[in-house]
């Protein structure tokens, strides 16, 4: 059984190294085939910065609106303009954040010689998008009835649920980001007039925070 070969290793320990290698190969392929691991922390940081810039502009738009409101009182036109401006800012933030998030993740996949678009990417996208679109439609329906009080809480909670749902198919940090968004969204229901600040914390600060954690944990070593 443990006869020595010419290099002095026993046959059993060579076989055991092989066995360890085999088990780690199995583990690696299970991981890789069930989780999208190319998600980059920089994607989160970029999305967070976009959200903060967007929140800054939204805040300015709101200030301008209230200045005019104090001078001229409420007019339907002004209120309609306000809604349009805010929706445009939100759409631009979403678009910029998605594009930047995609670029950084695509870059990371390329660096690791992994496909960006594979089974795990499809599963992740589907599981995030389904609750997210449901949330989007829900928020739009609230706006339709001029119920804007719960826009920030609802978008945070739905986004958090989408992340928790998708986290089964990617790095587990995403689940904690999701929990944080849900908790923040629920807290914000009690501070209904500070929606924008909660929105900025949820989509800005939390993204940057978790993005930085993910970057430090998984990517910094590789880039050195």
């Amino acid at each position: 059984m443990s006869e020595q070969n010419q290099h002095g290793y026993s046959a059993t320990s060579a076989r055991s190294a092989e066995t360890l290698q085999e088990i780690s190969d199995i583990k690696r392929i299970m991981e890789r085939s069930s989780r999208f691991i190319s998600l980059s922390g920089l994607s989160g940081i970029a999305a967070g910065i976009c959200a903060l810039i967007g929140a800054y502009f939204a805040n300015r738009i709101l200030k301008d609106y209230y200045e005019e409101y104090n001078l001229q009182g409420y007019t339907d036109d002004h209120f309609a303009m306000l809604k349009i401006k805010l929706v445009i800012v939100a759409a631009m933030v979403l678009l910029a954040a998605l594009i930047l998030a995609f670029i950084f993740t695509w870059r990371r996949a390329r660096q690791n010689h992994l496909p960006v678009w594979d089974l795990t990417a499809r599963k992740l996208l589907w599981n995030v998008l389904f609750p997210l679109i449901a949330g989007g439609v829900f928020v739009l329906a609230m706006l339709q009835y001029d119920e804007w009080h719960f826009v920030a809480p609802a978008s945070l909670v739905f986004y958090g649920l989408a992340l928790v749902n998708g986290s089964k198919y990617t790095l587990s940090d995403v689940r904690y980001l999701g929990y944080s968004e849900i908790v923040l969204g629920l807290i914000s229901t009690q501070f209904i007039h500070s929606g924008l600040y909660f929105w900025a914390i949820g989509f800005g600060v939390l993204h940057i925070f978790y993005g930085a954690i993910m970057w430090l944990r998984y990517e910094r070593v590789n880039s050195q």
Partner: protein, 99 residues
């Protein structure tokens, strides 16, 4: 002394077959192209090993269509799951036995 090689499954000696099983254990069903992409193998090579696994009763094949294109998906069977976990247990025992 019991030979630790006992319990290892001959079918899983091959890296591609072991890879296919590893993927199917953690994914409900996977199609041919996804398997090919993840294992980085050629069509013919993968097809041969899939037939082997199917003949052993470890995987089941579902032939379907997406539009006009054929979409063949693979699912692990109960027997396949058992064979795979037994194989892993045997590998783990080998390592424990050596330590």
């Amino acid at each position: 002394m019991k030979n630790p090689i006992n319990g290892l499954n001959k079918v899983f000696d091959n890296r591609i077959r072991l890879g296919v099983m590893s993927i199917l254990i953690v994914n409900e069903q996977v199609n041919f192209n996804d398997l090919k992409q993840m294992l980085e193998v050629t069509d013919g090579n993968l097809a041969t090993h899939l037939v082997n696994l199917e003949d052993n009763g470890y995987i089941k094949v579902h032939k379907g269509f997406v539009g006009r294109k054929t979409n063949t998906t693979y699912v692990v069977t109960k027997a396949g799951e058992k064979a795979f976990t037994d194989h892993i247990a045997a590998l783990e025992n080998m390592i424990k036995g050596v330590k």
